[in-house]
C-alpha cells in the first residue's frame, strides 16, 4: 500500500509541470467539441497528441482519455493514429518488450494451463481478421440530461478497425477448457496507482468467449496495435462495448464460478430491462441492474458539420456512419426538417455486420433558413435509434437521434 507520505509526494510531483495558465477558452473557440457537453469540458478539453497519435480531444491526461474529433471520421475505417484512447487507472506500462510478452491461460476451468508468447500466438493458431466497431460504453455520456459524473465523452469514443489475431476459442481449446466454465476472466498489464484500488479486470460469458468472432488481436488496420490501444495484444469482442476489449492482455482465466470483481459486479452496469438488447450476461444479471453488453444501434453525421453554411439551391452531401451490436445496419433515414419527414439514405459497402456502415444522401435546400438535419439508423433485428434519451445513472447507451443545424443563405 502506498503510504500517505508517498501519496503527498506524488501529488506534488504530478503538479510539478503545471503552468500558471487558466484555460478559459469557451465553447465558441473550441470548434473541435460538439455542442451540449457540460461547461467544464469546454473549459478543460484540448487538442493534444499522445505518442504515436494525432492530436485528439484530450479529456483527461492521467489516466489518458482522448476522443477522436468528428472530422477524423472520413471513411469506414478509423486510422490507428486517430483511434480514441480510454484508460481507467493510471498505472500504464511505459515500454513493452513484445519479445518478452507472455499470455497466461489458467483457472479452474482449464485442464492444461498455458503460457504463450506472441510468436507462438502468431505461428500456432489460425489468423483471423474482422472489421469491428470498438465503442466505449460511455460514448456520448457528456450529452446526458441531466449530466452525470464520469469522463464527459462527446461523439468520438468510437472507431472501426480491421482486427487481426487468433480466436480466443482456439486458445481455450488448446488449454483443455472444461465444459463447466461459466466465464472467461481477462486482465491486462495496466493497473492502479494505489494497491487499494481494484485492478481493471473483466469477464465475459463462456459462450461469448467461444464465439468465432471473439479474438485476441495483435494487429489493427494492418499494423501492430498502437501502445495506447492495447499493444501488444488485446481482446476483441465484436458487438459488445469496449469495456470487454481488454488492452495489454496478459492473463486469461477460465472460471467455473461468476467473477466477483468490482468492474463486473459494480461498474459498467445498466438498469435491468431498460434497454432493447438481445444478448445479456446471464451469470451476472441482478434484479436491479445487469452488465452492459452489446452496443445499441447508433449513427453519427460526419458531414456537414454543425453550423455549416451553404447557399439555397446548392447541393451538399449528408454523410455519416452507422453501427449496432452486430446484427447489421438495415436502413438509415435522414430528416432535414427536424424529424418532420424522413428520406432513406444510400448505404455504403457492407464490410461485415460488426463494422461501421457508411451512408449518404444529397441535400439541396430549396430556400434560405435554418435546417435541422438528423440521421436515424435501424438494424436487422428491428431496433432503431432512440427519439428520447433512455436515462441511466452512468450515461451508457446514448443513441438519441442528434440534430445538427445547417444555415442556408
Amino acid at each position: 500500500m502506498i503510504s500517505r507520505r508517498a501519496l503527498v509526494a506524488g501529488g506534488a510531483a504530478a503538479l510539478a509541470g503545471a503552468l500558471p495558465l487558466s484555460r478559459t477558452t469557451r465553447a465558441a473557440e473550441k470548434s473541435f467539441l460538439p455542442q451540449g457537453l457540460p461547461e467544464g469540458v469546454y473549459d478543460t478539453a484540448t487538442l493534444e497528441a499522445l505518442p504515436g497519435k494525432k492530436p485528439l480531444i484530450k479529456l483527461t491526461y492521467r489516466p489518458p482519455n482522448y476522443e477522436t474529433p468528428l472530422d477524423h471520421f472520413t471513411s469506414e475505417f478509423t486510422p490507428n493514429e486517430s483511434f480514441f484512447v480510454r484508460y481507467h487507472l493510471a498505472g500504464i506500462p511505459e515500454q513493452i518488450d513484445a519479445a518478452q510478452w507472455k499470455l497466461k491461460v489458467t483457472g479452474d476451468g482449464i485442464g492444461k494451463p498455458l503460457q504463450l508468447s506472441l510468436s507462438e500466438l502468431r505461428s500456432d493458431f489460425e489468423a483471423v481478421e474482422i472489421a469491428a466497431v470498438c465503442q466505449c460504453s460511455g460514448n456520448r455520456r457528456g450529452f446526458s440530461q441531466p449530466h452525470v459524473a464520469g469522463v464527459q465523452w462527446g461523439l468520438g469514443a468510437v472507431g472501426n478497425a480491421r482486427w487481426k489475431g487468433v480466436r480466443l476459442k482456439h486458445i481455450l481449446e488448446r488449454a483443455n477448457l472444461r465444459a463447466e466454465t461459466v466465464e472467461i476472466v481477462a486482465n491486462g498489464a495496466d493497473g492502479p496507482v494505489l494497491d487499494g484500488t481494484p485492478d481493471f479486470i473483466k469477464s465475459i460469458p463462456a459462450d461469448k468467449a467461444l464465439d468465432d468472432n471473439t479474438l485476441i488481436a495483435y494487429e489493427m488496420n494492418g499494423a501492430p496495435l498502437p501502445h495506447f490501444n492495447g499493444f501488444p495484444i488485446r481482446l476483441v469482442v465484436p458487438g459488445w462495448t469496449a469495456t470487454y476489449w481488454m488492452k495489454h492482455l496478459d492473463a486469461i482465466e477460465a472460471s467455473t464460478k461468476p467473477f466477483g470483481g468490482f468492474w463486473i459486479k459494480s461498474a459498467y452496469r445498466i438498469p435491468t430491462g431498460k434497454f432493447p438488447i438481445v444478448q445479456h450476461f446471464q451469470s451476472q444479471v441482478a434484479a436491479a441492474n445487469e452488465p452492459i453488453t452489446e452496443m445499441v444501434v447508433n449513427s453519427m453525421i460526419t458531414a456537414p458539420a454543425e453550423g455549416h453554411t451553404m447557399r439555397a439551391a446548392a447541393t451538399a452531401e449528408i454523410r455519416g456512419l452507422a453501427w449496432d451490436g452486430g446484427y447489421g445496419i438495415r436502413r438509415v433515414e435522414i430528416s432535414v426538417d427536424g424529424g418532420g419527414t424522413w428520406r432513406e439514405a444510400e448505404l455504403g459497402n457492407d464490410l461485415g455486420r460488426f463494422a461501421f456502415r457508411a451512408f449518404r444522401l444529397p441535400f439541396t435546400p430549396p430556400q434560405a433558413g435554418k435546417y435541422q438535419v438528423m440521421a436515424r439508423a435501424s438494424n436487422a433485428v428491428g431496433q432503431t435509434q432512440a427519439d428520447k434519451l433512455i436515462f441511466n445513472p452512468a450515461g451508457y447507451h446514448n443513441n438519441v437521434i442528434r440534430p445538427l443545424t445547417v444555415n442556408v443563405l
Partner: protein, 93 residues
C-alpha cells in the same frame, strides 16, 4: 497488475510527457488538499470537466467513492475540505 507502490515510481509516471497533468484548479480554500489527494491517482481535469452540474451531494458521492471503492487514504476531515472546495468552485448543480 503492475502496482506502482513507491513514490519513486509515482514520480517517474508524473514525469512522462503524456502524463503531464497541466491542469490548474481555481484558487480557493482547500485547493492544496484537492491537489495532494486527488492528483495522486488522476489528473485534475477529471474535476474540471465534471462541472458545474454536480451538487454538494454529487461531489460527496464522488469523493466517498474514491475512498470506499478506490481505496484513497483520505481522512474524513480532509474529505470534507475536498467536498467543500469542489462544491464551491466546480459545483452548482
Amino acid at each position: 497488475m503492475r502496482h506502482i507502490v513507491t513514490s519513486a515510481a509515482l514520480l517517474l509516471f508524473a514525469a512522462n510527457a503524456w502524463a503531464q497533468a497541466n491542469v490548474v484548479l481555481k484558487a480557493g480554500v482547500g485547493r492544496e488538499t484537492v491537489e495532494t489527494y486527488c492528483a495522486a491517482c488522476h489528473s485534475l481535469d477529471y474535476a474540471r470537466q465534471n462541472a458545474p452540474f454536480l451538487s454538494r451531494q454529487g461531489w460527496e458521492s464522488e469523493v466517498t467513492k474514491m475512498i470506499k471503492v478506490f481505496g484513497a487514504p483520505i481522512e474524513p476531515a480532509d474529505a470534507k475540505v475536498i467536498v467543500d472546495y469542489l462544491t464551491a468552485n466546480y459545483g452548482g448543480g
